[in-house]
């Protein structure tokens, strides 16, 4: 069955330290993959999608088909990166996304 896993509920990092959010998925095909972010008191919004290969707000995500992972990384965390992050693969087609349980990131000044 299709499944998306974000193993760490809470991640605390110091400002300037690297941050990596893990996302693993179980799927026999090649889904399109997204990361969404929700800052405090704001709407959930798209951070990046793997097909665009963009770097948004210093974040990148690498698709590893062999490990079925799509980890989100940023080399130097900033306080404004404190937020909830969701990995969301498109397993079903028709743009129906499956969201992981989310990672709460706290950047310590």
């Amino acid at each position: 069955a299709q499944r998306v896993t974000q193993p760490e509920k809470l991640l605390s990092v110091f400002k300037g330290a690297p941050v990596e959010l893990k996302c693993n998925y179980s799927y026999s095909g090649s889904p399109e993959l997204f990361w969404y972010v929700q800052y405090s008191r704001q709407r959930l919004q798209l951070l990046l999608r793997h097909i665009s290969r963009e770097s948004i707000k210093g974040f990148t995500a690498d698709l590893n088909k062999g490990e079925t992972s799509f980890h989100l990384k940023k080399p130097f965390a900033q306080e404004e990166d404190s937020a909830m992050y969701y990995c969301a693969p498109n397993f079903y087609g028709n743009n129906r996304l499956a969201f992981g349980k989310g990672n709460q990131v706290v950047v310590i000044p």
Partner: protein
């Protein structure tokens, strides 16, 4: 600049009431979705729609129904509200291949 509007930010309803949550988008998107967001459980899909008058069950449809009479509006209905439906409800819309645009959410409390 608001593109997906949810009619209420906070709602308090009594057990057994019929509850309507409204969502309107102005981007001419075909796809619309209703999720509930609970701590530790992430976002869970309740219902979605790819076209007017069309609906599909998501992962947790029990106790809910939806209506999509016009392309821009997607309503979530709690037929008989229960306390376990206390949650944050998020509406989203998308084009067939685009990212989601979310509403600001409705925090529903059932007492």
């Amino acid at each position: 600049d608001v593109k997906v509007t949810q009619s209420s930010r906070y709602l308090v309803k009594r057990t057994g009431e019929k509850v309507f949550l409204e969502c309107v988008q102005d981007m001419d998107h075909e796809n619309m979705f209703w999720y509930r967001q609970d701590p530790g459980l992430g976002l869970r899909l309740i219902y979605f729609s790819y076209d007017v008058k069309m609906k599909e069950k998501g992962d947790i449809p029990e106790g809910y129904s939806v209506s999509r009479e016009k392309k821009e509006r997607f309503s979530l209905i709690l037929e008989s509200a229960s306390t376990n439906q206390t949650s944050m409800y998020l509406c989203a819309s998308s084009s067939p291949s685009g990212g989601y645009t979310f509403g600001s959410g409705t925090r529903l409390t059932v007492v």
